[in-house]
């Protein structure tokens, strides 16, 4: 039971840490962005927060992340507001943010480099752009043909043009988030 509690503390601290890091970097953090950042930390950097993501039309989503964000907010680790001007949510650190992070300092230390990378590579993107990129990472598998990946992403997200998907795939490859794609000999 104690192990379960420690896992919870780690998850809450992870959310508090992302909220704080985005605030420090003067980046906007919404609920969608938080979902996708945690997904990328788990999938691309092996950060083991124990969240199980499912793909939806709006990209990889985990209900436990949404719920944990509510708990962190109730604990005072984050403040969530709806921004009528921007038309979306904004998450800022709350008064207990430091306290929540300190409870799992060892866990957070182990992921600081990964969080820096993800913040740098994805922090400035819109929710829509993050949704596309996290969907690509979700669907990509080593040994898959590039064309096949682009088609699969287009099936899931038909409003993104294949050219835009191809550009995002190239960007993710160059940054090392996906690898092992094969070129289709028919192209």
């Amino acid at each position: 039971m104690s192990g379960q509690h420690d896992a919870q503390l780690d998850r809450h601290a992870l959310i508090a840490q992302i909220v704080r890091r985005f605030e420090q970097a003067h980046l906007r953090l919404g609920k969608t962005a938080l979902q996708k950042i945690i997904f990328l930390l788990q999938r691309s950097f092996g950060v083991d927060a124990g969240y199980n993501y499912t793909l939806y039309t709006y990209g990889p989503f985990c209900a436990d992340v949404a719920r944990d964000l509510d708990v962190v907010a109730a604990f005072g680790g984050a403040q969530i507001s709806y921004d009528l001007g921007c038309g979306g949510y904004q998450i800022h650190p709350g008064p207990a943010n430091d306290e929540i992070r300190e409870r799992a300092s060892a866990f957070l230390k182990g992921l600081s480099d990964a969080l820096e990378r993800v913040t740098r590579d994805f922090g400035g993107l819109s929710a829509k752009d993050l949704e596309l990129r996290s969907t690509i990472v979700y669907l990509a598998k080593p040994g898959m043909f590039r064309k096949e990946l682009i088609e699969q992403v287009h099936d899931v997200k038909p409003h993104f043009a294949p050219a835009a998907i191809a550009a995002a795939v190239g960007e993710l490859e160059s940054k090392g988030y996906i690898d092992g794609l094969l070129e289709d000999a028919r192209n």
């Binding site: 896992a7 709006y58 209900a63």
Partner: protein, 431 residues
Amino acid sequence: MPRRDKEVRCPIHGFVRLTPFEQDIIDHPPYQRLRRIRQLALTEMVYPGATHTRFEHSLGVMHVASLMFDQVRSEIKRIGPANANFTSDDLDKARVMVRLAALLHDVGHAPFSHAGEEVMPTIRGQRRRHDHEDYSAAIIRQFFADVIDNHPDNVHRITANELCEFLGQGRPPKNMLFWRELIKGQMDADRADYLLRDSHHIGVAYGRYDLHRLIATLTVAPHPETEELSVAVEEGGIQTVEGLIIARYMMFTQVYFHHTRRAYDHHITEVLKFVLEQDYRSRGEQPSQTFLPPTAVDENQSRSNLERYLNWTDPVVWEMIDTGRAGPHGDLIRLRRHDRVVARTSATPTPKEVLSLQKDTLPMVADLGGWLDLADAAWYKFDKAGIFVTDGRKTYELPDRSAVVKGLEPVFQARVYVPLDREEKAKTKLQ
């Protein structure tokens, strides 16, 4: 002569209609096993009426999912959103897929439902345990492929593999992803059914809400942040959704997280660990306190693991409890001498309060067999995120349109339990 649809009676929805295709799936032995898995584990130790099974719930979910599907399909037709690229054939196939997914979504449950998930093995290299969804997918692939893939009524050529992908195990077939919301969303058919069904059998009114009004107000709208087509509720349906959320909140606090019910979840988990270990020993295998994993590198091994898993049902374990072969926790269950709460936090505590219970209070009674239970570790989690409301122009998350929902704090209560015969001693120590 073509076979006919059948209707079965349901205490919640009246009649549930089953096609011959669905009847054949239901008649398959791994499906019939759900008649022997109770929906709410040992909740009957507190609420004697809670003896309903995963079988009747699964039929109910299929019924509700169909109602939701038909409403959303009619809304897609009415509104004609630009990003809904469904052909008529896509929609017909999606309806069958949604019904089959709803029917089969719980087929992988362990004995005593969610309590049994505590003895599922961890996924290799991860912190997370397998859950019943992993077992459902593996069982569908191994045992239902023939009845699904080769059924003469399967006109849309749906495969067991596609069904698993639709249920969340990977990428669903083309144009099916949108419909996943009805099976695995924040306001899905599963929750819509279990709140009403659990309330009915338990005999409480907490879980009741207006299902038919809820369905009538379902529509489609762009996601508030990504603009993707999503299932939403019309503004006029806010009060109905509030009813659903409050029902879930009340069921969580009054039933699912009831202090005695949680004690029995703990005891039955310990029983399962004990009987599993005994089972491995009796086979001359390395003893373990978890089920075999749902998948293995070798297909035959996967099938063999699942065959053994499917032999475990509530009555099999009850027989061991009744005959004194389920270990000390089995005896506690048989004699109804469950552990008692000696300390707890408030329902919505501060992090300090929770930590103090774990670091200060628990060690004081550890030598008396004290253990900590967290509401957050409960399986029927209460949450309010991810339900969208639309006024026809813009989409919002429910808490932004509902002061009632916004005001509901997440429950994160923690409790310390000790065995009944040490309750007084523990209370004295903690004074």
